[in-house]
Amino acid sequence: MALPVRRVHDHDADRMRGLLKIAFKLLVNDRGKFFALLIGITFAVFLMVMMTSVFAGILRKSSSTVTNTGAKMWVMDRSVNNVLSSIPMPDYVLDGVRSIPGVKYAVPLYSGAGLVRLANGEYQPATIVGLDDTSLLGRPNMIAGNVEDVYADDSVIAVVDSEYPKLHAPQVGTTFEINDRRAVVVGLAEVPESGLFGLPTLYTTYNRATEYVPSGRYTISYVLVEPDSPAAIPSIEAAVYALGYVARTDEQFRELIADYYKFHTGLGTNILLMTAISFLVGLSISGQTFYAFVLENLERFGALKAIGAKGRELVYMILFMVGVTSLAGYGLGIGLCTLMITLAKWRIAEYASVVTYGNLALAFGMVLVIAAVSSYIGIRRVLRIEPFDIFRS
């Protein structure tokens, strides 16, 4: 009996396409369960990415001074574990660093907090950054005024960021007091990243900064170093270490700050817990819904088996169903997260949240685990059903 319907197509894609199309229709035509699955994965991804993005944003902002200054190497006390907790160093450290072979130049940086008294009598804490008087290394990008005007008496440059209004949005010429000393805004500037703790920033010269902010015997917060070449970095690090201090590249300093917030503030643990809870919520919703879906269709899978579907073909169908749902949920979750962050940043310009490739990869890995567990549960049930059960039903 030569029947055309018994023709078997050799091409693998053709072999599976029809089966996967059935799987797809079984999945999406059961709208209630399909949407429940999608919502489960979407929200799990949304929460996981949101949590980790907020953390990434916090970490990025915590290193804002490092980013904004742009120095390649930073010399600091060995006890420093984040940029805000600088420990003042004596002047000889600056001289010592300058004398190290491979150092192109080295300048001091002051970073501290001052209390600003505004025109209406209100007080507002602010970060005071003192740049090297000679080079102004680490200067911000000016958007009004001239950077050299900072050399004039009592001059400061205000950074225009989300905290800027806290100083009542000063313009060039605005005066106020910093720790009871007169200050005049001679320029407005912008920086790549604003700080984490909601303080407005004022730039001035190193010497004036040390006058504005009461300090002890030592005043140098950091020494900024420009090496001759990247090859000189290890020897500079060794020489600084011999001085009793530590030299870090900007990247190493960022990692140190990130480690501080991750492991010494409780922030990392909380974010990790929230991410784990999001994962568990997604896993339970998706796993349970998919299990219910498989149970509801168990007899149909059994009928397919009785008709002649092979076990592995049913496995492909289930993997395809879970794969489609997981990828769609992942995409929707990322989209929703991006939308939320965009909306938040639209309202709060310096909202601390950033979606990194690492966050995306982590969420994708979690989704794969959710998909694997859901598939495993479904596949176990489907492979267990015997075609004979269909006759008995």
Binding site: E299, A303, F388
Partner: protein, 233 residues
Amino acid sequence: MTEPAIHATALTKWFGEGETRTVAVHDVTFDAMFGELLFLVGPSGSGKTTLLSMISGVLRPNSGAVVVEGRDVWGLSDDELADFRLHTVGFVFQDYHLFPRLSTAENVAIPMILQHVPWHDALERAKGELEIVGLAARAELSPGKLSGGEQQRVAIARAMVSRPDILIFDEPTASLDGDTGKRIMGFVKTEILNAKRCILTVTHDERIFEYADRIMRMEDGKIVGTEPGAGHA
């Protein structure tokens, strides 16, 4: 009708072990011929469905053999067995087991799709099959929107679509009223059965016995009698 389509020899099947062992089919031997509509009848628990399952490559017997078109069914590997069910046997289940999330035509096309026929070719063939069972106009509807008799005809179209030589009907009229059941069996007898096909039907429904070519009676897992049916030519 000289060569048997199905040759079953000393088929035995039991469930459970020890004191709980229940013998469902005991030492059953029979032939079914091409062109024959063979009814397996008997009370509930007499082993009809178990016997049908062993013949169709669904349930492995504890002993005995089934030879279909010259092939020893239970000597086949699992994959070969699945192919045997797919290419040689067509099933009409008691509860139809149609997929409510697929259209009627897609339901009918399933065996073709399992045979890796391209989607559109399979659907075209399924629509042709629906035309044969008088449901061409229902091709795009979901099975849930069809009556019981229509669903039964869809199940028949699905069983037939790949032109199997053996058709297995499990209680085909159990969910149908008398008139519809008779109409369906009349249709099967005149339109589906042919000289190159053998149809095995398990039923309780005496109202349709008139369509059988032969009736085998089972009790307690054994064949207790065979008689020619009213449909015997």
